[in-house]
């Protein structure tokens, strides 16, 4: 393990070396050994890890975007993925809900274990995976032909929920969680596209929450927003971690430092360093991480 670390220039996160069994799983995965689902699930549950990626590689055509990512994401926490442009952070979270493969020419190898089950196993239906993993995109993308209400209810209706009371309840709950309820409660029939940019993004968060996913992926959710709107979204994200596992991609180091419990630093398609946010920012172990955090490149 130690030899490998040096060789790859990688430092596995603090999380991974807390327990002996963790070392085993990391080691096994790094060597590309086939791991049975059950053993992964056992150690995963013990550590409270929601998602484990094992040697995850992704490409667009011949371009390798991710070069074997091994990462464990803890349950009910916020994990930030940061790194300079083109480092593969967006591709990484798009692999977690099998969205990456929808792009023509894109492909994925490796494994992503969600609750002990490899979501890339041929037996798995990607549609069902995506129902468990919600996503919020870089630019707000509400459905413009739907009202605020219908936007939030869209996912539930896909799942066949027709009961009006149930829908009402879910719409109210989700909008409250996204801190949008007070601003739109009198105008739920209004088009989702008529809201301001920040409201639209919170509407998209509410839409993702309505189907009660277990994981929420956020791809630079604040990059198109002003500081006030950003603050509101961060407040919402912070509340959400009580019930959800959140993975947030961010370009903005301050944002990672403000909201995240754990931070991963990506560079050129590789995971350079992963650990507690405090440790990453105050005491980075890798030189690249330090240089990025101190603004020497990026």
């Amino acid at each position: 393990m130690r030899r490998r670390k040096k060789k790859d220039g990688l430092v596995m996160g603090e999380l991974a070396i807390q327990e002996q069994s963790d070392i085993d799983i990391s080691l096994a995965s790094q060597q590309g050994e086939v791991l049975s689902d059950s053993s992964a699930s056992v150690s995963q549950r013990r550590r409270g890890h929601k998602i484990v990626t094992i040697d995850l590689k992704a490409q667009f055509g011949r371009v390798q975007v991710l070069r074997g990512i091994n990462l464990e994401i803890k349950e009910r926490s916020i994990t930030a993925i940061m790194g300079p442009s083109g480092c593969g952070k967006t591709t990484f979270i798009r692999c977690l809900n099998r969205l990456h493969e929808l792009t023509p020419g894109a492909s994925v190898t490796g494994r992503v274990i969600l609750d002990g089950e490899d979501i890339y196993s041929p037996k798995v239906n990607p549609v069902l995976v995506r129902r468990k993993i919600g996503m919020v995109f870089q630019k707000p993308n509400p459905f413009p032909t739907m009202s605020v209400y219908d936007n939030v209810a869209a996912g539930l209706k896909l799942n066949g929920v027709r009961d009006k009371a149930k829908l009402d309840e879910a719409v109210e709950r989700s909008l409250k969680l996204a801190f949008l309820w007070d601003e739109v409660k009198d105008d739920l029939k209004k088009s989702g596209a008529a809201l301001s940019g920040g409201q639209q993004q919170r509407l998209c968060i509410a839409r993702a929450l309505a189907v009660e996913p277990e994981v929420i992926l956020m791809d630079e959710p604040c990059s198109a927003l002003d500081p006030t709107a950003t603050a509101k979204i961060e407040e919402a994200i912070f509340e959400l971690k009580k019930d959800y596992t959140i993975v947030i991609v961010t370009h903005n180091m301050q944002q990672a430092a403000r909201v995240a419990d754990y931070t991963a630093f990506f560079y050129l398609g590789e995971l350079i360093e992963y650990g507690n946010t405090e440790q990453i920012f105050e005491n980075p172990k890798n030189e690249l991480t330090e240089r990025y955090i101190t603004g020497k490149f990026g």
């Binding site: 549609v127 995506r130 993993i133 630019k139 459905f143 896909l158 596209a193 839409r207 993702a208 198109a224």
Partner: protein, 325 residues
């Protein structure tokens, strides 16, 4: 600002300045003339049609529109059978053509089969169909489509569903039904090519938003892509409708050319465009000619009305979904 004022320029600079200013104003005049020509032509057409149909207008008045007789020997002229025929065939064309066009557009744009070669060649073929002259469609309709439809569609429909007024009468092959099917085939290239472009223009973020909620490929198309593209698809449909309403040659060749108003699709009919094309050369007498011209006027306003109505609807739809950010 002073550095850019004319006073401080050298001689050559002044010359360039003047030249570019002149070129600018010349360009402005040229494009304005081009723009106003369109309006002038449109008004001239309407005015000329109105002027030449005055004898008919003064004889029949507004009742020309709902007059049901078209009798050359007694000089009784009414446009309703032709208006009816135009409506029925165009509606039939949309009813049959729109679903097929949408299917083609979805196939071509939504990567139902992700083979580039297949979608590209089908796309080009569809566009080529739009380039076929309508008289060729007419010939094909007369010698191939009409007998085929009579034998395999109209006769069975009449035999089993003859009690429905729509399918009553003796299927002869040259009727509303054949004209409608032929028109449907003729509008498919236009409607599907535009719809495909409209669907291609739907941002991927809309598809991904639906996917990330756990939608299947078809749910993404039905619930995210088509609603987003609806105003564009509606525009494509209206263009198809305009083509169907105005189509002359092909319809004239297969519709049977009988000024009749009937519930049966298997009866011969007539359309506004077809009657003008068919009878203009043999029209004698001022009233006959001016009645035909008034038919043209009716067709002109019908096309105008369809387009205006469509534009209003699209404008209303777009206002409802203007996206900020």
């Amino acid at each position: 600002m002073k550095a850019f004022s004319k006073a401080r320029l050298t001689k050559t600079e002044v010359r360039t300045w003047n030249a570019s200013a002149n070129a600018d104003s010349l360009m402005k005049v040229l494009v304005a003339v081009a723009a106003f020509t369109v309006i002038a032509i449109l008004t001239a057409i309407a005015f000329e049609l109105y002027l030449n149909s005055l004898p008919s207008i003064s004889k029949f008045g507004i009742s020309f529109i709902w007059g049901t007789t078209w009798d050359v020997s007694t000089e009784m002229f009414g446009a309703l059978p032709f208006i009816f025929g135009t409506f029925v065939t165009s509606l039939l064309a949309l009813l049959i053509g729109l679903p097929i066009s949408l299917g083609v557009a979805i196939f071509l744009s939504e990567k139902v089969k992700s083979r580039r070669m297949v979608t590209r060649s089908i796309g080009t073929l569809v566009e080529l169909l739009a380039a076929v002259p309508s008289v060729i469609y007419g010939l094909w309709g007369l010698f191939f489509l009409s007998p085929l439809l009579r034998r395999y569609v109209e006769t069975p429909l009449h035999d089993y569903l003859g009690f429905v007024p729509l399918f009553a009468g003796t299927p002869f092959g040259l009727d509303f039904f054949t004209a409608g099917v032929l028109l449907a085939i003729m509008i498919i290239p236009t409607v599907s090519a535009i719809s495909r472009d409209v669907l291609n223009a739907v941002p991927n973020s809309q598809r991904e938003a639906m996917y990330s909620l756990g939608a299947t490929h078809w749910e993404v198309i039905w619930k995210a892509v088509l609603p987003y593209a609806r105003s564009g698809i509606f525009g494509a449909t209206i263009l198809g409708l305009a083509r169907a309403v105005g189509e002359t040659m092909a319809v004239t060749m297969v519709i049977g050319n009988e000024p009749k108003i009937t519930a049966s699709l298997f009866s011969g009919g007539y359309t506004l465009a077809a009657v003008i094309a068919n009878q203009f050369t043999e029209a004698t007498g001022q009233l006959y000619i001016s009645s035909l011209i008034e038919i043209g006027l009716v067709l002109f306003f019908m096309a105008l009305a369809i387009n205006t109505f469509a534009r209003l609807l699209i404008w209303k739809m777009k206002r409802g979904m203007n996206i900020r950010v």
